[in-house]
Symmetry: C2
Subunit: 415 residues, 2 copies
């Protein structure tokens, strides 16, 4: 099955918004075995939208249109699809009532324009929008081809594509009814390293064709190994995914820090909760970034005591009790981790000190970083490393490296 | 003048990379008065690239191709342009020598494939690449139309577009030779609010046509007002920009926190340096984010002492000396700001405490935030507010709000 993507919006062409929808849709399509040969962005101009649709349908059986479903005169996707089909727009009373109800619930007056969102090209169907006012569209055009339209708002678009567009495309392709996927989130090795480790699984799956494995790069956040299976039923597909997940976890071991939407900081807090331990952080080059990551996890307050961003040297000494001659050293990292434990009243103290640049500090080269880990009932551990990248990247890399080290140590204790 | 954009790369279609180039190019084109009716993404397939170019040239006089200039067999932009022109590729010895030199400088062996990057369609010209191995291309095709090709690597692309593509497009359009623009970065009002304030300037400029003003949204980072002027010479264009900048600054006053690439934290540190003051921060709901923003500024260490991310209530008490009954209150914000001053040995102490959710805390509603500002020789000030948004947005908004408050107070002192 193949489906092209057409984004509508002059603001996209003018660069006022970065289009992240295209990448998201591309990833979802790929995971579902749907090909896409072209993504296109067009401004708010009905003639150009219709021309683009005609051109795309000359080569493809399906097109997904994103955006242009709002209530204003600039929103022309509905009109363009009706023109393409050669039919009028028909107002759907049930949609109009839903839109009016949504405005009443928000205690806001509804501009009459908003009722345009209840218009559907004759013969087409609406895709329900549980979270916004603009319904989507699903319209067959001549020759059994299909055009979908979804809002440009990412979370509304994502829900419609996941719940309606992809299942409909798969039905049309005569493919299996259910697709299930799980993402194993890994940290600490390269894509080629991962590929080498699981080469025999990739080969075996290539032969059997289902499930499939894809690698997705997440930059500083690591690499995702996504397992996707098709099945006649959801439970059949899920069983295939779970079987393969077991195989891969055996091979990948503690490179895997979580699944799906789980972040590294979530993984760390979960493991700390398992031990009933609280966490305190001492930061230097990261300036507070490690703390900021941790409080991204809802409910962090039961485990996270706080962070001390001791940027100035004498703050490390007065507040954390660092006595080491150089504040970028193994000794300083150890004293900072223990200082975080003591000063923040935490069971576990972790610390990062290093040189983020732009120039070396006290003869220590840019990129040198020391991590300290103070866990209850164990001698404090220090790991030194030399990280690549610019100032910003060094700090991001230091933060996730330290969190990953702590995760691995906590997993080691459980074993 | 009009120029369409064609991005090449199967990895873009698969969503493995988010295409930020399109937005950047759109913004630059708009600032230079170059129209773009269409952005298109195509995979690494020569026939499809040629077909897309033919289609785009059926409606436009210029196309900018991004990507597909690498050394591998997948990189087909050069071949596609040669096919479009109906000419062979010709190896340019000077380019080959440059590429070989770049490899020698990095003490790396050069794969023979890399010499493909020295190939140019007969009759075309190379665009020099001072920072990478892949030169760009600038080739006239039939009918005086022009195709440019630049690498997909953002900073290489940006340099070529700025230095070569846009100047060439403007020359071809017979437009003024020089374009100068300045971006005034503002924080604290809406786009409609800004538009209302400068409505009479917008009208006046609409009539005279040069310079022009554009608004660019930067989300939590505020709104940018960009002034762009054309002139026969750069100094003529610059004079027009400077004149308008003066007018706008009179109207916008302290909404403007910086120009061009200056961030809010840069603005704050600059003003602190002017007073010879150091800064200490006490954070609660932001968990270290304010400190992390500040250390983004190279050279922050001369001014920034550190941050105390006091997430747990008893850490606020033991470390910062907070005695207020509720840790989300005016009194707590005051005590935290003064605690940051004292504990971090800083001239200026600032603090943010609030409820980020997901649930209310001690009867205080989600979104309630108090900011404390302790400046030398003044009573400590507290500002309370109620911010909108989810957990992440609340924290981002709190961080920049507090930095902006400090900037305004420091500006007030100078007046």
């Amino acid at each position: 099955m193949r489906c092209e993507v057409l984004a509508i919006g002059t603001e996209l062409l003018l660069g006022q918004i970065v289009d992240t929808n295209g990448a998201w849709i591309g990833e979802q399509f790929a995971a579902s075995g749907i090909d896409s040969y072209e993504h296109r962005v067009i401004g708010d101009n009905q003639a150009r939208i219709v021309a683009a649709l005609r051109d795309l349908f000359s080569r493809s059986d399906a097109v997904l249109v994103c955006g242009g479903l709002g209530p204003t005169q600039d929103d022309l996707t509905r009109d363009a699809i009706a023109e393409l089909m050669g039919v009028p727009l028909v107002r759907h009373d049930d949609l109009a009532e839903q839109i009016a109800r949504m405005f009443r619930a928000r205690v806001r007056d509804m501009p009459q324009n908003n009722l345009r969102q209840a218009d559907v090209p004759e013969g087409g169907a609406a895709i329900p929008n549980p979270i916004g006012t603009a319904p989507g569209l699903m319209c067959e055009i001549a020759g059994g081809k299909i055009v979908y339209a979804v809002p440009g708002v990412p979370y509304e678009m994502q829900q419609m594509v996941t719940d309606h567009v992809i299942p409909d495309l798969l039905r049309r392709s005569g493919e299996a009814a259910a697709i299930v996927s799980t993402s194993l989130k890994t940290w600490g090795t390269s894509e080629s390293g991962l590929a080498e480790m699981i080469a025999h699984r990739l080969e075996a799956l290539d032969e059997q064709g289902n499930p499939t494995i894809a690698f997705l790069a997440r930059g500083i956040e690591g690499l995702v190994v996504r397992i996707t299976a098709k099945g006649a039923t959801e439970s059949e597909a899920r069983a295939l995914v779970e079987l393969e997940e077991k195989e891969l976890r055996l091979i990948l071991g503690d490179l895997v820090f979580g699944v799906d939407d789980e972040t590294m900081e979530y993984a760390v807090l979960e493991r700390l909760r398992g031990h009933g331990w609280t966490l305190g952080v001492a930061e230097s080059l990261t300036g507070g970034l490690i703390g900021a990551r941790i409080v991204n996890v809802p409910g962090a307050s039961d485990t996270f005591r706080g962070t001390i961003g001791s940027y100035a040297t004498d703050v490390k000494r007065s507040l954390l009790g660092v006595t080491a001659a150089s504040v970028v050293s193994e000794d300083a990292a150890r004293e900072m981790a223990e200082g975080a434990q003591r000063v923040l009243g935490a069971d576990v103290g972790i610390a990062a000190t290093g040189v983020a640049g732009p120039t070396e500090q006290d003869g220590v080269a840019v990129g040198t970083v020391y991590f300290g880990l103070a866990l209850p009932g164990r001698p404090t551990e220090v790991v030194g490393t030399r990280l690549p990248g610019d100032r910003e990247r060094l700090r991001q890399f230091s933060s996730i490296s330290l969190l990953n080290l702590l995760r691995q140590r906590l997993d080691g204790l459980e074993a």
